[in-house]
Symmetry: C2
Subunit: 222 residues, 2 copies
Amino acid sequence: MKTRDKILLASLELFNERGERNVTTNHIAAHLAISPGNLYYHFRNKSDIIYEIFQAYEKLVDYYLDIPEDRALTLDDLTFYLESVFDGLWSYRFFHRDLEYLLDSDPRLRRDYREFTERCLAAITLIFEKMAEAGIIEPQPEELRRAMSLNVWLVITNWMAYLKTAHAADGPSGLSLAELKQGIYQVLTLEIPYLTPAYRERVLALREKYRPRRVAVEPVAG
Amino acid sequence: MKTRDKILLASLELFNERGERNVTTNHIAAHLAISPGNLYYHFRNKSDIIYEIFQAYEKLVDYYLDIPEDRALTLDDLTFYLESVFDGLWSYRFFHRDLEYLLDSDPRLRRDYREFTERCLAAITLIFEKMAEAGIIEPQPEELRRAMSLNVWLVITNWMAYLKTAHAADGPSGLSLAELKQGIYQVLTLEIPYLTPAYRERVLALREKYRPRRVAVEPVAG
DNA sequence: GACTCCCTAGAGTATATACTCTAATAATAC
DNA sequence: GTATTATTAGAGTATATACTCTAGGGAGTC
């Protein structure tokens, strides 16, 4: 693999593990056993690394959320969208953690992220629309659909922070993708009241798959 | 005012304005025109300042969310809870911005914050319970009520980040309390499907008060 | 072999940051 | 007044961080 790509990969890995704030360019270089000079040969600064990682994230989610317009939406589609979005969130999980600081440090990123959010919100709204068309949920007025979509977005983008700050154990054990996907349970909770009788049971069954299992908190020895 | 209190106040102010990450102890001292030595006479380190500010935040919200058990809940109560929570969020808005880093740096804070979240979730659940008792919303099973409360929490705690990252203008104009309170619109959106006919119109009218006004984006000169 | 171009090493730097240390001053107690 | 304690100033420090600079290796080309 090219050094440039190795840098991007290692950065993402370290950022996800320790948080962007705790990872310096020297750390990244050391992790790859290359010199700082080498790293700076490939990237002008840390912001550029982050920006490029973001672009990959953006591309991934855009790809996932490319809603086909020519056919009806199925429950499998819905499952796919939900799973994919949380997969993306997982792979680039450092990003939302320090979002505000990152956007403050890089105007390009701020602009792109705003547009990215708008695209995501539009996609979610479209999904609601197509769910109504498919008879999965009752149709709702435009205004409500938009507000609901925004709530879905807020729940999705904040679920990880909730897990990391209020839920997970203190230890360095961290978080698992499986836990993260319990966010799907929360998202589907939002849709319950709008489900049509025809689909109600099926969606509830889907939701049930993501129900958080109450994890017993290990008593700390000592 | 005592120097100690001045330090807490100035820290909160600067943290809110610029973000904790961008505010050093030297900045705080300079802002107050005192020496760093003086600051460190009153606080052992930056973490202690943050911890003390958090305790004030916690106390404030606990006070707001002290739900009286001896009487029925009214719409005015609900309004008060919502307004208060967003007021608190505003006054200590730096906190959620760097939450994960802050909790990683201070085990006391992590423990306290987790308990704080649990108390807030319990309070929200109780509010739902009492809203059902008061006939404002239809009663729901325990499980659903808990999941709904968590969604309310996720929306509330993420609303500001949404505004700052995806919505607000780039400029240093920043955010206003009024904008922040549009989060109430989103929270009430969550409750719409559960409203009883008797209260539906009234709650919708309340919600309407917080509807975001589409702000025209100023074209940038130049 | 010489030239060029891409890549890399590694020492080095300017700046920032959290925090310390000493000495002096103000406040209080007796 | 004197002793004691609380408060403050301000210079200073150890460490970290993002980033630079110079020198050179390796591979291909003529």
